[in-house]
């Protein structure tokens, strides 16, 4: 005997076959008993479109740009998420808020353009951690397939959460896909 690493190792049985075993029929019947047991056992298939596998609580999927309670965008285009991003998937352009846009943007500066390349993104969640404004979250959904590379570059319109004032139902639904932990 050599070194034993686990206690599960079984020595190979090299005894010559008994008469019953050499007939094969008995062993085949034993095998058939095994398969018929599986025939009646519970099936493991998840019937996909009707039935979906639930996401884990810490799942990191498609990004969502958050709004505050009055439906104003929280993002101030500070660029911390872009700096934190190891895949360099995020790019943005800042703009200054005009006096009549106070109901649209929370602070004086906002992101005029905000793009995430989903082909580059590795869904690490560092942008979410870097954000000081509670603006970006990774939701429990994932990027659907697309025919073009262009389609994977998500614009601000694709990322923004629905407005809680105009579309409260959609907002609630989208909020459900975000895991919300109290940030300290």
């Amino acid at each position: 005997m050599g070194v034993q690493l686990t206690k599960r190792a079984k020595p190979v049985d090299r005894r010559p076959m008994t008469w019953l075993e050499s007939l094969y029929l008995w062993n085949i019947m034993k095998g058939m008993a095994v398969t018929i047991k599986h025939f009646f056992s519970r099936k493991v298939t998840i019937q996909y479109p009707e039935e979906k596998r639930s996401y884990s609580d810490v799942f990191r999927g498609l990004h969502i740009l958050n709004r505050d309670e009055e439906g104003r965008e929280r993002c101030t285009a500070c660029g911390l998420c872009a700096v934190a991003c190891p895949a360099e998937a995020i790019s943005m352009e800042a703009a200054e808020r005009k006096p009549d846009e106070e109901h649209l943007y929370r602070e004086e500066k906002y992101a005029a353009r905000y793009e995430i390349n989903m082909l580059r993104c590795i869904f690490c969640g560092l942008c979410e951690e870097a954000c000081p404004k509670d603006a970006i979250y990774l939701s429990k959904t994932h990027a659907p397939a697309n025919y073009h590379r262009k389609g994977f570059i998500y614009k601000k319109e694709d990322l923004l959460i629905p407005n809680p004032l105009t579309e409260p139902e959609e907002y609630k639904k989208a909020l459900g896909t975000i895991k919300r932990e109290p940030k300290s």
Partner: protein, 351 residues
Amino acid sequence: MYILAIDWLFIIEKLILIALIVTLCMIVAMYATYGERKVAAYIQDRYGPNRAGPLGILQPLADGGKLFFKEEVVPLASSKILFVLGPMLAMVTALITSAVIPWGTALSIGKNTIPLQVADINIGVLYIFAVVSVGVYGIMIGAWASNNKFSLISGVRAASQMVSYELALGLSLIAVLMVSGTMQMSEIVSLQQQHGWNVLYQPFGFLIFFICAMAECNRTPFDLPEAENELNMGYHQEYSSMKLGFYLFAEYINMFMSGILMATLFWGGYDIPFVDETKLAAGIGQNWVAFLSFSMLMIKACFSVFLFMWIRWTIPRFRFDQLMHLGWKRLVPLALLNMLITAAVVLWLNK
């Protein structure tokens, strides 16, 4: 009235019967493919096809439609006529076995009684032997005509396997013939109705017959002619579209027919167990009994088909030398022994 001394009613009756039986075989073969996939799936803890129609019941139609619309490729270097003849022969030989099978008790329409059997010939079992041995040509011709090495090897394998197992098959059947004393299929069934099923007298013969039938149908564990990992696809490598479909269909029809044969020769045919058909006919009418007996035969055959599938998804394929070893060194001597013992017992009882 007779024209040219031909009983036209008789011919029409037989033609209708033939059409019905061929249709039945096709439908059964179609749903055998569905059943195969379902059984495989259930044994592997899956659901199998369940999207086309309720429970996936339309899946065979979708598969058939797909096969019809596929491109029909005939390889440049193939022998064109033989290439077409191969699947045709496979299909025809699979279907013509059904001619001598008694499918149920006779129907009575008006004053006529119509037996549910196309040809009640007195050499029924011999006819089946003949058809089964022609069955190998479909595969051989197709494999040869494809001009592909894998196909050729597969054809050679199929030929040697089928010839080897035909021997033991025949020998196990001879024992049945000795017990029943006739080769007429209807006669064999009615004898079983009177004296109990042949499987009671010939359990061993049935086992040999079953194994050989599995080998004749090229089913796992005897599916060496289409061993994917050795021969790609075997004899239907070069086939596409409905020609491939015919080969696959022929396999399932063969399976169904051997199930029917096993039921007829060993499991009492259309006999409903523990029920006297003539008494039942007085009660509920001749045609209902015919229907019930036919259903009984179908149930028996379908169980055999299920058994084939069950075995297929349980055990792996034999190696070729193991196959030959089993065929020639085990089954043939055992079948011979079975035959001799049966002969001795029959002689002793008839003394």
